[in-house]
Symmetry: C2
Subunit: 166 residues, 2 copies
């Protein structure tokens, strides 16, 4: 990469941190799943949600990280625009791309602490601790302290609803 | 400013654009006010709203711009954290600091178009067009196309309520 491209990439990196400080979510969900050994499935996810009019920002993020996908979340409730979610779910992508990025470019809002907890959970999952009852308990106790206390916006709420209905 | 401080300021600038792409609002409100010549008062405002836990981000923005103020908006509704609003309202500060900044560091989300409309309104107000009926009509027609269509989050909604109740 030449110096000019590198400068451009740095600018996007700092912009991206600001945008994620505002609009990003690091979450760890735990679902009942009887096909797993513990009866539970652990689901870490990095998400940025936007309305249709700012879909370009998600494309920019996806092109920057070169991992993850953008999903549409159609809304038919009150004529508001459709939602789009940029999601990174694969453990390897979280571990090799997303976590090293936010380790290098620090979040400035209270999401920095959610990121640290997220990182701990991903580390536990990577070491397969989530397949043991104790490891699962540890992940659950970290996960329930994440994304709490913060004022929820309608994006996060709709996300929670989607999760429940899936 | 030495090179190192300049680099640091640039990093904050790019972060700030990302954060405002997510959390900022450029708005122009028009209130009835019988003490003005037209019977209306035009109120342009640049706002970034955060919960208490991310108050530090607003302080960072205030220190960066060196204009504007942070106001507390106490919440007693459902035990959620208090809101804080970083606001720039003075015409000279909008014109000399906020607008030149976002002219140089472009927003990437659909807020870029709200910013352009905001800039037009501030220009009209600066040339005192808002004191004439035609100028006021023009500002009103621009203002009503701003911040529409976008998915409102609870921060923006509570802001709207505050406006109405003021």
């Amino acid at each position: 990469m030449d110096a000019e491209n590198w400068q451009e990439r740095l600018k996007i990196a700092y912009w991206l941190v600001g945008f994620v400080d505002g609009e990003g979510t690091f979450s760890v969900s735990i679902f009942k799943n009887n096909t797993t050994k513990t009866g539970w499935q652990v689901f870490p996810e990095f998400v940025v949600t936007q309305g249709e009019r700012s879909l370009n920002t998600l494309t920019l993020i996806k092109n920057f990280f070169k991992v993850g996908n953008i999903y549409i979340n159609r809304r038919h409730d009150n004529h508001r625009e459709n939602l789009y979610r940029y999601c990174v779910r694969a453990l390897s992508e979280l571990n090799d791309v997303i976590i090293p990025f936010f380790d290098e470019f620090s979040l400035k809002s209270d999401k920095a602490s959610d990121f640290e907890k997220f990182k701990n959970c991903v580390r536990l999952i990577k070491s397969k601790s989530h397949l043991t009852v104790n490891g699962l308990k540890e992940i659950r106790s970290i996960a329930k302290t994440m994304n709490t206390g913060r004022i929820k916006n309608s994006l996060e709420s709709s996300e929670a609803i989607r999760r429940v209905s899936n």
